[in-house]
C-alpha cells in the first residue's frame, strides 16, 4: 500500500519540480530584462538616436535580433519609491523601466509618435529625481493577476496618460532602418502584449536580520 502511494507520488512530485524549474522564474525589481513584443517578437530597444519629430528625445524602437545589449531594461519601483532588488512584482504594481546602456527612463507623454501618430514613447532623463518623473510610471497588467513571471504575457499602462505600451509592423527607414515603431495607444489590444525573455533575474532575498531592529540597548 505504502509502496503504491510512493510510486504514484514520485512522478507527480517530479512533474511539480520540473514545472518549477521551467517557468517559475519571476520578474523582480532590479532584474535586467529584454521585453519582447508578443506578436512580432521584436524587442524593446533604445540607443543614442533622437527622434526627428515630436519631443526630439531619445528614440525607443523595436529591434529584431537577439544579440544587442541595448535591449536591456532594469525594473525599478514607481517614481519616488524604492523597490529592493529581488522584490516580486504583482499585477497592478507601478514600475519604471530604466534603459541599462544609456540610463534613461522609458517615458511617454502627449507628443505624437513619428509613424502612426499615437502617443510617443521615448527614453528620457530630464525629470526631477535621478532624472525621473511621473511620466516614467507604468502599471504592470497581467490578465491572470498574481506575480509577474518570465515569459508571461504582460501589458504596461502608462499612468499619466492611461495609454498602453504598443508596437506594430510599422518600421523606420534610415538611420535605424528596419526597427519598429513603439508608441502608446488608448485601446487595450493584443499588440500591447509583451513578455520578459532574456535577462538577468535576481531571486527574492532575505531581509536584514530581525535582531537589527534593536540597534542598541542599555546594559
Amino acid at each position: 500500500m505504502t509502496f503504491m502511494m510512493l510510486g504514484m507520488l514520485v512522478p507527480f512530485l517530479a512533474l511539480l519540480f520540473m514545472g518549477a524549474e521551467a517557468s517559475e522564474v519571476i520578474v523582480t525589481c532590479g532584474s535586467s530584462v529584454k521585453l519582447q513584443h508578443d506578436r512580432t517578437k521584436y524587442r524593446l530597444h533604445s540607443h543614442e538616436v533622437q527622434y526627428g519629430s515630436g519631443s526630439g528625445q531619445q528614440s525607443v524602437t523595436g529591434y529584431k535580433d537577439g544579440d544587442d545589449s541595448n535591449d536591456y531594461w532594469i525594473v525599478h519601483g514607481a517614481f519616488r519609491t524604492n523597490c529592493t532588488q529581488g522584490t516580486p512584482i504583482e499585477s497592478g504594481t507601478v514600475v519604471r523601466l530604466r534603459h541599462v546602456n544609456t540610463g534613461k527612463w522609458l517615458h511617454s507623454h502627449l507628443h505624437r509618435s513619428p509613424i502612426s501618430g499615437n502617443l510617443e514613447v521615448s527614453a528620457y532623463d530630464g525629470g526631477t529625481v535621478e532624472g525621473s518623473d511621473s511620466g516614467d510610471n507604468w502599471e504592470v497588467n497581467l490578465d491572470a493577476g498574481g506575480k509577474w513571471k518570465r515569459d508571461q504575457r504582460v501589458r504596461f499602462k502608462h499612468v499619466d496618460t492611461q495609454h498602453w505600451l504598443h508596437s506594430h509592423d510599422k518600421r523606420f527607414g534610415r538611420p535605424i532602418a528596419g526597427q519598429q515603431e513603439i508608441c502608446a495607444v488608448q485601446k487595450k489590444t493584443n499588440d500591447a502584449l509583451w513578455f520578459a525573455g532574456e535577462g538577468v533575474y535576481f531571486p527574492e532575498r532575505e531581509k536584514p536580520s530581525a535582531y537589527l531592529k534593536t540597534p542598541h540597548e542599555d546594559l
Partner: protein
C-alpha cells in the same frame, strides 16, 4: 642592487600562491560553479593569453592576475582536485596536498606551456609578439547592478541568479559569412577606370539564436565595495562568428531602513544618543553588530555631544584579506530633559556644579 631586486621578486613569487588561495577559483576564471571542462579550458585560454607576462611586460598587476588564473586552472582542470575544492574549499585542498607531500601552486609558466603544448600562442614571430594576433571577435558585454545591503557586504552572501540568454545553435542551410570588403577596378571607357568596393563572402553552415536559461551562483565576499565588478565569462550577448561577451555585475551598496550603520571605506559609523545623565556620569550600552554580536560600550566620566569613540577592528572586513577589519566609530549626541527643572532642583544643580570648571 639588481640582485636585491631579484630577491624581492623571488620573495613576491613565493607569496603568490598564498594570496591566490584566498580567492574563489571559479570567480577568477569568470565561471559559475557548474562550469564544464570545456568552459574551464576556454576561459583559461582566453585569460592566460590576455594576461601573459610576455604580453604585459612590466605590468605587475597583469603578472599577478596571470598567476591567479594559472592556479585556478591548475585546480579546476584536475578532476580530483576540483572535487576536493568543491567539497572542502581551499583548506581541504591544502590538507590534501600536504598529505600527498607536495605543495600546491605550480609555476604559472609551466601550466601555460603545458596547456599550449610548449608552442608559442602569440604566433611564430619571435620578435616579442609584434606579429598581429588574431583577435577573436566577441559579443557585447552585459552590465547590470547587483544591489547589496551592508549586512550582505559584511557577512558575504551567495545568490542564485537566473541568466536567460541567446546562444548560437546550428540550423539548416547555409549563410554568407567571413565577409570582406574588396576593391575592384573596372574599365568603363578608353583610359577611364572606376574603382569600387564589393563584398566577398564565404558560405558557412547556418546558425540560429536559441534562448537558454541557467542558474549562476554569485558569491559575494565579505568586504566587497560599491563599484566592484563580478565577471561571468561568456554570459553576455552572443556574436555569430565570434564568442559570447561577458556578463558583469556591478556591486551597488544600498541603504535599508533596518541598518543604522554608515560605511566609509572599511570603517563603520554609528550615531548614538545618550541622556544628559549618562553624558555626565557614564553608562554601559551594547550596539548590535551586523553579525548579531553585541559590541559593548562602557564609558565612565563625561561624554560631550559630538564626541567620537573609536572601537578598533569592529568595522567592515577588508576585502580579500582574511581577518583584517576596519574600525567602528560611535558618534555621540546628548538628549536633554524635556521640561525645565523646578526651583529646588535648579538650586541643587547650581550647588553641584558651583566649583566645576567647564569646557566645550
Amino acid at each position: 642592487m639588481a640582485f636585491s631586486r631579484l630577491l624581492s621578486v623571488l620573495f613576491l613569487l613565493c607569496l603568490w600562491p598564498a594570496l591566490v588561495l584566498a580567492k574563489d577559483f571559479y570567480a577568477t576564471l569568470g565561471l559559475a560553479r557548474g562550469a564544464t571542462d570545456a568552459q574551464i579550458k576556454k576561459a583559461y585560454r582566453k585569460l592566460a593569453v590576455q594576461y601573459h607576462p610576455d604580453k604585459n611586460k612590466g605590468d605587475e598587476a597583469a603578472t599577478a592576475k596571470f598567476a591567479e588564473i594559472s592556479s585556478a586552472y591548475e585546480v579546476l582542470s584536475d578532476e580530483k582536485k576540483r572535487k576536493i575544492y568543491d567539497r572542502h574549499g581551499e583548506e581541504g585542498l591544502k590538507q590534501h596536498e600536504a598529505q600527498e607531500g607536495r605543495g600546491g601552486g605550480g609555476d604559472p609558466s609551466d601550466i601555460f606551456s603545458a596547456f599550449f603544448g610548449g608552442g608559442n600562442p602569440f604566433g611564430f614571430g619571435g620578435m616579442g609578439g609584434q606579429e598581429e594576433e588574431e583577435q577573436e571577435k566577441r559579443g557585447e558585454t552585459v552590465r547590470t547592478e547587483i544591489q547589496l545591503n551592508l549586512q550582505e557586504l559584511y557577512l558575504g552572501t551567495s545568490l542564485r541568479i537566473t541568466r536567460d540568454k541567446n546562444v548560437i545553435k546550428p540550423a539548416k542551410g547555409t549563410r554568407k559569412c567571413k565577409c570582406r570588403a574588396k576593391m575592384r577596378t573596372k574599365q568603363i571607357g578608353p583610359g577611364m577606370f572606376q574603382q569600387f568596393q564589393v563584398q566577398e563572402c564565404e558560405e558557412c553552415p547556418n546558425v540560429k539564436l536559441v534562448r537558454e536559461s541557467e542558474f549562476l551562483t554569485v558569491d559575494v565576499d565579505p568586504g566587497m565595495k560599491d563599484g566592484q565588478e563580478l565577471s561571468f565569462f561568456e554570459h553576455g550577448e552572443p556574436l555569430i562568428d565570434g564568442d559570447h561577451g561577458d556578463l558583469k555585475l556591478i556591486v551597488r551598496e544600498v541603504s535599508v531602513p533596518e541598518i543604522k550603520f554608515r560605511r566609509d571605506g572599511n570603517d563603520l559609523h554609528y550615531d548614538l544618543t545618550i541622556t544628559l545623565t549618562e553624558a555626565l556620569v557614564g553608562f554601559g550600552k551594547a550596539i548590535m553588530h551586523l553579525d548579531g554580536r553585541k559590541v559593548k560600550l562602557n564609558v565612565g566620566g563625561v561624554t560631550r555631544p559630538g564626541d567620537v569613540q573609536r572601537i578598533a577592528n569592529e568595522g567592515m572586513p577588508v576585502y580579500n584579506s582574511a581577518g583584517r577589519r576596519g574600525n567602528m566609530f560611535v558618534h555621540y549626541s546628548v538628549s536633554f530633559p524635556d521640561k525645565s527643572l523646578g526651583a529646588d532642583d535648579a538650586k541643587k544643580v547650581r550647588d553641584l556644579f558651583s566649583k566645576t570648571s567647564f569646557r566645550l
